[in-house]
């Protein structure tokens, strides 16, 4: 077994195992940690295919920034995995989920059996070391020539999302300030003290 195959097998096992654990876990913090492990393993796979840039961006953006925010929210809401999730969903809905999952598994098996994925992975590993695919220059060139229009559209979409978030945050903030003001008027406090 060559070194490349060994690294490939290890990172695939780690990625799939931690992705499964992420779904199975009750504790949200543990879920986030498993997701980080899975992302790092996926970054290793990208690097093995020669796509160093994609691999490092996966870690910088997802593992380094987005999941920190996930962790932040979980910490602020103080979720510890022992919350009451409400009643179990009805039998019909459970059955539907089960059937759809089986269909997805079957589809996955067909794709793997068709040999297309295995073939592309094999050629990818053989190409390791070449910077012809997924390097910084390639990605940048494609982004600023062929995909310039979608790229710029994405930036407008992100800008709209940021503006939307700011607007929503501001409105909510004002409500909170007003309600705090009402609660803290002397007469209210006085009444509470009397009661």
């Amino acid at each position: 077994m060559s070194l490349d195959t060994l690294i490939f097998v290890i990172s695939v096992i780690v990625a799939v195992f931690s992705a499964t654990m992420m779904i199975v876990q009750r504790n949200p913090i543990a879920s986030v940690l498993y997701l980080i492990v899975s992302l790092v393993a996926q970054a290793v796979l990208y690097v093995q295919l020669g796509a160093l840039f994609l691999g490092s961006i996966l870690i910088i953006v997802y593992a380094g920034a987005i999941l920190v925010l996930f962790l932040f929210i979980i910490m602020l809401l103080n979720l510890r995995g022992n919350e009451d999730l409400g009643e179990k969903s009805p039998l019909v809905s459970q059955a539907t989920k089960f059937i759809v999952s089986i269909l997805f598994v079957l589809e996955l098996v067909f794709v793997v059996r068709s040999g297309y994925v295995a073939e592309s992975i094999a050629t990818g590993v053989a190409d390791t070391g070449s910077t012809g695919f997924g390097s910084v220059e390639d990605v940048a060139l494609l982004l600023f020539t062929r995909y310039l229009y979608p790229f710029e559209l994405t930036s407008i979409l992100l800008l709209a999302a940021i503006v939307g978030a700011v607007v929503m945050a501001r409105r909510e903030n004002r409500d909170i300030q007003q309600s705090m003001f009402v609660e803290q008027t002397p007469s209210e406090t006085f009444k509470k003290g009397q009661g």
């Binding site: 913090i29 160093l52 490092s56 870690i59 380094g64 962790l71 932040f72 910490m75 390097s135």
Partner: protein, 331 residues
């Protein structure tokens, strides 16, 4: 194939040992320099000039009782110091320490791994470092730790933006992401990027100090308000792991600053590895000097400074540098 593995392993071993020794003596240097700056003498009794003080400290920490409070989340609590420590060492994988040498018939490069995306690796690893602090604060089950963790993650996320933008000037001029090539482009002192990117350097070093949570940006462990921040509930070797990772981070940032702005291992007469160490040493001195000079920021000042001063300046630096690079290409 296998000789590459063996050579790399030896290099990794040497670098890790050097970094850990460096961390130990950085604590000695900090106490000594701070002492003299405050008209004290600093550690004196353990060995000549107190040189064995780090050894004494290390032994003391090993023999201390490992106290685990009752309401901690066990797994995460045990994992957090390691999550803080490992990323701080990973940075050194791409930092070039010396020129290439021929030895035993092999060409040995002065860097563990010459990635062509070296700078991105540094940033990827730095961005993972925040997990150790956040999880330590959260799993300790103490409000001081929690406040320290929230502060540190907010601070690191905010300053990472300006940190990343501050080096784009260097990348634009050097036209590469590889740290080895960046060093090779700074052969003479006039080529050092600090002279071609003065604003970029100031932004980089400011953000780097904030990223490593050092004074005057050491809000996460403000001892007068938060006891010790995220590592309040840690003791013994778990505490010292956090302590070592803080110093390893400082050395890592100093190495990256040396490589990007001060010509890395390039220098006359002395061997390259020595030049590298001298430059890193000067940066470590700067860290301690700043700690002795500046009082701590207030938290809102810190956030306002990051978003309203550093971030726009970094954007300005990027735009001006890009314009100048375009102009020189065009002429």
């Amino acid at each position: 194939m296998w000789e590459i593995v063996i050579i790399s392993s030896i290099k990794v071993l040497l670098v890790v040992v050097a970094i850990l020794t460096g961390c130990a003596y950085a604590t000695y240097m900090e106490r000594k320099v701070l002492g003299h700056m405050q008209h004290r003498i600093g550690p004196l009794y353990a060995g000549p000039y107190g040189l064995l003080q780090p050894v004494a400290d290390g032994l003391k920490l090993i023999f201390k009782e490992d106290i685990v409070p009752d309401n901690v989340e066990r797994t995460t609590y045990a994992l957090a110091p390691l999550l803080a420590f490992v990323p701080s060492l990973l940075t050194f994988a791409v930092v070039p320490f010396a020129a290439d040498v021929d030895m035993f018939g092999y060409r040995i490069t002065g860097v563990i791994s010459d990635l062509n995306i070296g700078i991105l690796w540094v940033f990827a690893v730095t961005s993972l470092g925040v997990y150790g602090l956040v999880l330590a604060g959260w799993s300790s089950g103490s409000k001081y730790s929690m406040l320290g963790a929230i502060r540190s993650s907010a601070q690191m996320i905010s300053y990472e933006v300006a940190y990343g933008l501050s080096i784009i000037g260097v990348i634009l001029i050097a036209n590469t992401f590889s740290l080895r090539e960046i060093v090779e482009q700074q052969a003479s002192i006039t080529d050092w990027f600090v002279f071609r990117q003065p604003l970029g350097f100031l932004l980089f070093i400011t953000c780097a100090i904030a990223e490593t949570n050092r004074a005057p940006f050491d809000l996460p462990e403000a001892e007068s308000e938060l006891v010790a921040g995220y590592h309040t509930e840690y003791s013994s070797m778990r505490f010292s792991t956090f302590f070592i990772s803080e110093y390893a981070n400082m050395i890592a940032v100093s190495s990256v600053a040396t490589t990007l702005f001060f010509g890395g291992w390039q220098g006359p007469l002395l061997p390259p590895i020595l030049w590298f160490c001298i430059k890193v040493f000067l940066f470590m001195f700067l860290y301690i000097w700043l700690r002795a000079t500046f009082p701590r920021f207030r938290y809102d000042q810190l956030m306002a400074f990051g978003w309203k001063v550093l971030f726009p300046l970094a954007l300005l630096n990027t735009i001006v540098t890009a314009g100048l690079v375009m102009l020189t290409d065009w002429l």
